[in-house]
Amino acid sequence: MNDSVATRAAQATPPGVARRVKGLSDRAIAWIFVGPTIFLLLAINIFPLIWTIRLSFTNFRANRPNREVEWVGLRNYERILGDSDIWLSMQATAHFLIWTIVLQVLIGFTLAWLINKKFRGNDLWTTIIVLPMMLSPAVVGNFWTFLYQPQIGLFNYVITWFTGADPSSFEMLGSVNLAPWSIIIVDTWMWTPFVMLICLAGLRSIPDYIYEAAEIDRASKLRQFFTITLPMVLPFLMLAVLFRGIENFKMFDLVVQLTGGGPGSITELASINLKREAFEKWRTGYSSAFAIILFVTVFGLASIYVKALNKVKER
């Protein structure tokens, strides 16, 4: 509504008003105001991106800047697509991405639905639940390694207390089977509130009269949930999934601190693999090509998803 009011106001304004006043013309002010932002983004986002594209066709190594640089054409890209390490890291990313989204959507939606029952003090508890997602992922990852310590860690102790398992018999971060789940648990702990907040906004946007009408039509509560609540929250839920999807596809800081990609390379997500190639093996050209592939993948998937989201919204 606000937008359309603003637009109407704009159309109603005689264009002469601005021009008649003294000082710089509106057009000049517009460019002075927008210019610095565009310049900064060009210098620190677009220029580096173009540089990355250029590097991706070379065998440049940043730790040997004086060595002669050769153009290798598409060879870096060909090698990446045939590199089993890269495919493993993409698999690890997919596993992480799918499970974090599934868990966060389920828990987040349930929480939002419960909070929307408007029990007394729900604002206070919502704020408390939200705290983890505002914290520094690197510091969160670091202190979760403490909670995951084999014997002394709180997490292991709680599990032991419930299951009776020997507290030193399992290592959340050190075992190949458990490490992928350890990172999913921490990410879910941290980001469920994000999904919850967005779902809550969705639930609160549903006007009461729709439920009242359904009640008059004697629709059961279950039916109301599936024909009113869920469809009306869906666009919000999809938006939350979009944000989490993009963020977790680039996931780096949290997991680097938790497992560093280990044990072996079982939790080596795409960004961690990229960091290793670029800043440990110093294969700058090769890693640039990988970076471009990742960027194009995120951008492509996000665009398709946004189209689907808009379709859902139109319904």
Binding site: V34, L40, P48, W51, K118, S136, V139, L197, F243, D253
Partner: protein, 317 residues
Amino acid sequence: MSGLSSAWSVTEPSSRQKWIAGILVIGYALITMMPLLWVFLTGFKTPPDSISYPPKVIFEPSVEGYVNLFTTRTRVTPSQLDALPPPANFAEEIVRQRDMVIAGPSKFGERFMNSVIIGFGSTFLSIVLGTMAAYAFSRFRIPFTDDLMFFILSTRMMPPIAVAIPIFLMYRQLGLSDTHLGMILLYTAVNISLAVWLLKGFIDEIPREYEEAALIDGYTRFQAFYKVVLPQAATGIASTAIFCLIFAWNEYAFAVLLTSGNAQTAPPFIPTIIGVGGLDWPAVAAGATIFLLPVMIFTILLRKHLLRGITFGAVRK
């Protein structure tokens, strides 16, 4: 019969439903707070208490973790220890119980100050540039506004490591690597997309009539912006600023790749706090507590605008 006498709505959950929902949500909140509470408690444990089994919930509080966080220590022999003058302060006393003396301040204070300088510097710059750009996008007809806005947003989709490679090379050429200015510019570039999107939303909500009245009264466009729009947008600007500050405060990937000593912020530093014989958990916990506490306070202050901030203004409530 009493049910009939008061206004009754079909959408109002019954009191039993409210009770159940309340208990479940509070249960979740308590579980989710456990890790944070545990870290806070660990900061006040002695190193042996912090690694005891079973984990100690009741313990004698100590500030050893905080002392260790802010100092570097060297081990001395008992005879050397006896020869020393009596401890000058409580920190000396705690350290000497472990057969050590304070050798000097640790780097934590410096790293924390770097976080403050870079956080506030980049927030200030993002807000100044972002408010100007948002105003222009909101009020003037700029060609390709939608495309430009989308371009500004899309810069957020790049994995930080992907941009870090050329920025690393570029900063090396320009002499900006490991400098405060370099990090401030970088975080500003990352934050500006958020700032422009959020601020445009806030400015769109301010009626144009106010400025037009000011223009007719003889204000220049710039005066109208400065004296009419800015005060109206103050709340929006403040909450956007806190979001920018929190992002810069929390950022890790660029900090760990592009800084090493001079301009390193706290997030890459806290995990490297090493004590004698492995990680000194109370010191790490103390560092995490000091570092996370400001963000928690800001989050509570922000709670009304939280949703808008985390969704780039897509959900306004």
